[in-house]
């Protein structure tokens, strides 16, 4: 094979066409920890910290942030980073083993496309709010709520994000390199301004902004649920990052430094800012915290940081969509595809601007899906496949592969997904915050994760072998089957 072809195939492996070999992976422990932290410290930590402050004061809020994030991150990373980090396989290719080839496309659409469209609208509106607050600062007027500046700013941000995403990864990399350090500086400055006004004891004793229930324990559990949702929200993304790590251990532990540790710190600072400045909207803190100079600089950086985040998620989502979609989408121009992807975020910005203030509702809805997906992933990879994947099944032609299931979909995993989603909404309705007593000690994500896993495990044990689905190992023959040796015979 000539060297240029070898290089082409290696690039293909990096993009997820084939498994990356251990020798080709680029990240060690600290490399991944840094990348992971840079991903975590983005404008979403401001929003999550601000949302937590609505329900609980800082002392309970920090507890909710730690509890929620550790649970969400560990379950999300166990179901994605461990298999992808071990086999170097692309996350949605790995998902074929439990959802089937078409099923993994459906999961991609539900978890990445829908999530990305929602985030584009939320971050775009945050850009709009940042511009509105800038105008307020300079003109010495009152903020405009969801007025025309916010809408126009949000639409402008979406258009700019689309234009930058069309330019490709180089520009994205350059923009991203400066954002995480800038946001850390803004957080340090916020903490400095807050510490000038309040002692630590006063800070911890502050009340929540708008607790919806009289019972503080219920408010605390909702704050925990929001933070579990924040941890789970990494589920669609971290598998594909962890496959770039040198081994499984390196693919797992740095998540506790970045998307748990760094994110928790950022959310805690945001929690203090929201509580002391009386608003869950991060753009208002920048205006109120440190006067005109700080306000102008911080709001400008905030708008730029949002734009970078939007470009990152837009680019990643459209790349993945192209990989998984059929020929028709692949033959479409890159710019056209990005433009089409932005239509729904634009509609949300114009007709549903309330998504920004009710951001946590959107976040918690995504957890109803992600928690069930994590439960199915853990049941399938750890308990059904005993941590051994048959890579030949994943990369075989659909017609000849056991992961074809039923017309490319695994009905068992889909039933488990619906069961997990349904129990979540029964236990805790993200839209109305209505909840059962069970929620007040068990959360909603954990029962959803557990039920989805149990349904997937039970039905697979009961039906999959009889139907010849999935190539699951049977009892003590698992090692031979799972190693792929039988398939080659």
């Amino acid at each position: 094979m000539n060297p240029s072809r070898e290089q082409e195939f290696r690039l293909g492996a990096e993009r997820g066409d084939t498994p990356l070999l251990p020798s080709e992976r680029v990240w060690g422990f600290w490399g991944y920890a840094y990348a992971n932290s840079a991903l975590a410290v983005a404008t979403w930590v401001f929003l999550i910290g601000g949302a937590t402050a609505l329900f609980v004061g800082p002392l309970q809020g920090i507890a909710a942030i730690v509890i929620g994030n550790i649970i969400g991150v560990i379950l999300a990373a166990s179901s994605t980073c461990l298999p992808c980090g071990k086999y170097g396989v692309e996350q949605f290719t790995f998902l074929r083993s439990m959802f089937g080839i078409n099923g993994s496309r459906l999961v991609y659409f539900l978890s990445v496309v829908v999530l990305t469209m929602g985030w584009l609208a939320v971050l775009g509106l945050m850009c709009g709010r940042a511009l509105d607050n800038l105008e307020t600062l300079v003109q010495q007027t009152q903020p405009d709520g969801d007025g025309w500046i916010v809408t126009a700013g949000a639409l402008l941000a979406i258009v700019l994000a689309a234009l930058v995403a069309m330019r490709g990864p180089d520009m994205i990399r350059r923009l991203s390199a400066v954002i995480a350090p800038s946001l850390i500086l803004i957080m340090l400055a916020l903490m400095y301004f807050i510490s000038q006004r309040y002692s630590f004891g006063e800070l911890l004793a502050m009340p929540p902004l708008q607790p919806p229930f009289e019972n503080p324990h219920v408010n605390f559990m909702i704050a925990v649920e929001i933070n579990i949702a924040a941890g789970f929200s990494w589920w669609p993304y971290i598998g594909n990052l962890s496959r770039l790590c040198s081994n499984q251990r390196t693919a797992f532990w740095p998540n506790l430094v970045g998307i748990f540790g760094a994110a928790s710190l950022g959310e805690s600072v945001s929690l203090f800012a929201a509580t002391t400045l009386g608003s869950s909207d991060p753009t208002a803190w920048m205006r109120l915290a440190g006067g005109m100079g700080f306000g102008v600089i911080a709001l400008s950086f905030l708008a730029l940081a949002n734009l970078t985040g939007m470009v990152n998620i837009l680019y990643t989502a459209v790349i993945g969509l192209r990989q998984l979609a059929g020929e028709r989408l692949r033959s479409m121009g890159w710019g056209v595809l990005i433009g089409l992807f932005c239509i729904i975020p634009v509609v949300i910005v114009v007709f549903l601007p309330g998504i920004y203030d009710g951001f946590f509702i959107f976040l918690v809805w995504t957890s109803a899906l992600n928690s069930a997906l994590a439960g199915i992933g853990i049941a399938d990879y750890f308990f059904l496949r005993k941590q051994r994947l048959n890579l030949r099944h994943l990369y075989a032609e659909q017609s000849g592969s056991p992961v074809r299931f039923c017309k490319g979909f695994n009905p068992i995993a889909l039933v488990a997904l619906v069961a997990g989603f349904a129990i979540y909404v029964v236990v805790f309705n993200p839209q109305t915050l209505a909840h059962t007593d069970f929620f007040t000690f068990a959360t909603a994500s954990l029962p959803s994760c557990l039920l989805a896993g149990l349904v997937h495990y039970g039905l697979t044990r009961l039906l999959a072998a009889r139907l010849g689905w999935g190539g699951y190992p049977k009892g003590n023959e698992r090692n031979i089957e799972a190693a792929g040796l039988r398939v080659q015979d």
């Binding site: 492996a13 002392l59 309970q60 920090i62 550790i70 324990h217 251990r249 890579l391 799972a482």
Partner: protein
């Protein structure tokens, strides 16, 4: 699957799959999470959840 590129692509995939099958045959997988890692993870989670709840989570 007729062109030279397709044949070479299939060979490249085969090479990668074989590499993982070789690893699978070994008694220990380099860098895999051990039982110790899982115990540490469970303990860490319990300490974090219980510690955070008792220090700040109670109303």
């Amino acid at each position: 699957m007729n062109s030279q590129v397709d044949v070479e692509r299939a060979q490249d995939l085969e090479r990668r799959l074989r590499a993982y099958e070789e690893l699978e045959k070994r008694a220990d997988w380099p860098g895999a999470l051990s039982a110790g890692d899982f115990v540490a993870l469970i303990l860490l989670t319990l300490v974090m959840v219980a510690g955070a709840y008792f220090l700040g989570g109670q109303p």
